[in-house]
Symmetry: C2
Subunit: 376 residues, 2 copies
């Protein structure tokens, strides 16, 4: 990007402050304006509580959106592009929901919308995928995209503590939200899986259609079962595309102890791509945090002149991918192949898709259901 680039910052939370810290220390980018929610937070000359002052300012070249939430972020991003501005966003939920519309606007208006910070925080995951695609077709990916659940799973494994205890501890430390639904039920990982599909395959499903199973029902006995069998439980988003149908799932997965994903601890993220000539490549690092995420946004800003762009189409109906599952706390039903184990859990000996599994899992009286794919 040419020195003298002028930026409007939408949002001044943990990430927005990190972006300002990095950019203010450089000489080549000017933050012209910063949007704050309310007039009482306007404490610097460059701050405003009026978004129009930023979106209508012809002297702003790029919008850096780190406000979060669907609206008004979505409206602001569309308005900014229509006003001739590029966009850098960290808002995975908004982008995963509106990516078809936003990618079409990028194409029509010849603007860039970069989203490295949406997925894997400081890890240059989206960049690497686009980089690989200069040469290869990416055929599949899998990864730990949510730091909160990975922190919970790590602590439960190491301290043999209950889900509720560790969640409370994570909330006290600020690693988990007061309403942890987005994280523990897998929705956050789902948005990131959708955005990875956009970068890797140019195909995206409706996020609501992605079969998703979280870790809310997990108990120490599940982690014990995994350990005894040389496995570790991780919340994994996994996508693949063979040129025809797209598959994407988010589900707790028993990975082998020697799997690189098993070495991703605490609130770190880690992901692996597979492509035609490069084979498997693995990336890990900070999945969130002020400066790592801000680093990703500044990288996006510096990369706006790069030719990378994504051509995104709706995937249509997702493919079903049969797998073998571990299940605990569900009634015997149509999935009658359940085999009893000493933990009170069962292994579905006949592979089923996550779609089918979710349909047929009915909790037993007073039990929480937990299911995990057993990686083949």
């Amino acid at each position: 990007m040419a020195p003298g680039l002028r930026v409007g910052l939408l949002g001044y939370g943990v990430v927005g402050r990190g972006v300002a810290q990095i950019l203010d220390a450089r000489g080549d980018v000017e933050i012209r304006k910063i949007l704050r929610h309310t007039p009482d937070k306007v404490t610097e000359a460059r701050m405003t509580a009026n978004a129009d002052e930023i979106l209508d300012d012809p002297d702003i070249d790029v919008i850096i959106e780190c406000m979060g939430g669907l609206e008004p972020a979505h409206t602001y991003v569309m308005r900014a592009m229509q006003a001739g501005k590029h966009v850098v966003t960290a808002n995975k939920k908004m982008l995963a929901t509106h990516i078809i519309e936003i990618a079409a606007a990028c194409e029509t208006l010849d603007k860039k919308c970069r989203f490295e910070a949406c997925v894997g925080g400081g890890i240059p995951w989206i960049h690497e995928i686009l980089h690989i695609r200069r040469i290869d077709a990416v055929t599949s990916f899998r990864g730990i995209f949510n730091g909160t659940t990975n922190y919970i799973l790590t602590r439960m494994t190491e301290e043999h503590a209950s889900f509720a205890e560790v969640l409370a501890q994570a909330q006290a430390m600020g690693f988990a939200e007061q309403d942890p639904t987005d994280d523990v039920d897998g929705f956050d990982a789902r948005y990131k899986g959708v955005l990875t599909c956009a970068a890797a395959f140019g195909r995206v499903p409706d996020p609501e259609e992605v079969p998703t199973f979280g870790i809310r029902g997990i108990a120490p006995c599940d982690l014990d079962y995994a350990r005894v069998h040389g496995r570790v439980i991780k919340l994994v988003a996994r996508g693949s595309f063979d040129g025809g149908r797209l598959a994407l799932t988010v589900v707790p997965t028993m990975v082998r102890e020697k799997d690189p994903l098993a070495s991703v601890h605490d609130n770190f993220n880690g992901m692996e791509a597979e492509s035609t000539t490069l084979g498997r490549s693995f990336y890990a690092g900070q999945g969130a945090g002020s400066l790592p995420t801000a680093h990703a946004m500044v990288q996006d800003l510096l990369s706006i002149p790069h030719p990378y762009s994504i051509d995104v189409h709706p995937s249509g109906k997702l493919a079903k991918r049969p797998a073998v599952y571990y299940v605990r706390g569900a009634k015997r039903g149509p999935l009658a192949e359940l085999t009893a184990q000493d933990t009170g859990a069962a292994i579905l000996t006949k592979p089923v898709s996550l779609q089918e599994l979710k349909e047929h899992l009915v909790p037993e009286e007073g039990q929480k259901v937990f299911a995990a794919e057993i990686e083949s």
Copy 2:
């Protein structure tokens, strides 16, 4: 790179063939000429055994050097740059030895010399470091840069086999050279460490000055000792730069079982960088092989227009970095702090530098010395 780019390929071994396979499948790059060693290998119209036909061809824009060895590769690279050509090389030994001269020629002649394939095969390690440096200072790195020794260590650990047995097996499978010195004595990792210092810090030592200790003396009891203590032994190159003195060592290291480096198995490579805002980021993948290495060279080719360049200066004398070592098979000498262990090995309770350690290790009668840093 503009379509229509014209390439001269020096060398047509495993990597050269991979490069030709990828480029021939694309429409945007023409391989004008390929250098073969001897006239009897000239089996295609674009092949020649005469390097002048390539180096003097004004219609060749970029030389892709995958011949290996110090000479004539070094002379050819210098001649190519003087003739106005960019260079992409996979020749770590040549580049680590001549990088000061070659970087100066890049500067003077306004040419690029890209070397992703020299370090970590298909892993975009050099690219990532240069990418991070757009924003951050890189402060340190460590990694498993040699696939052959990692394969040997993995097999010894899993099969409880001797070094000699596993080396013979690796040689039979083509994972190790008939003369394995460069790999098992750490020289290959040393070249890669030197080139990482160039990219990360802009400072390089004379490769001969880098304290290096290989795995030739390792025995199953060393791996047992590590396992009992929750460690795994890996051959690690580790560098750091604080703005003053550069430190670089190559030495077997007992890393914790939970360390990401411990999850790098078989002939894979894995490396970690630490930088100011991004924190720790970790990369792993194929460290060698025809197509992954060729992929890296084609990435370099496509990235020639990027502004990334390295400004490299001699580091001067390397800093000493004290560490705690495990030592087996050495006589008690000036390092009298040796503490006997049940394996016949000892732990140096007082931290010493690898430089000092190497000076004072005298083999016991009929023993091979093995030493490993115990990661703090």
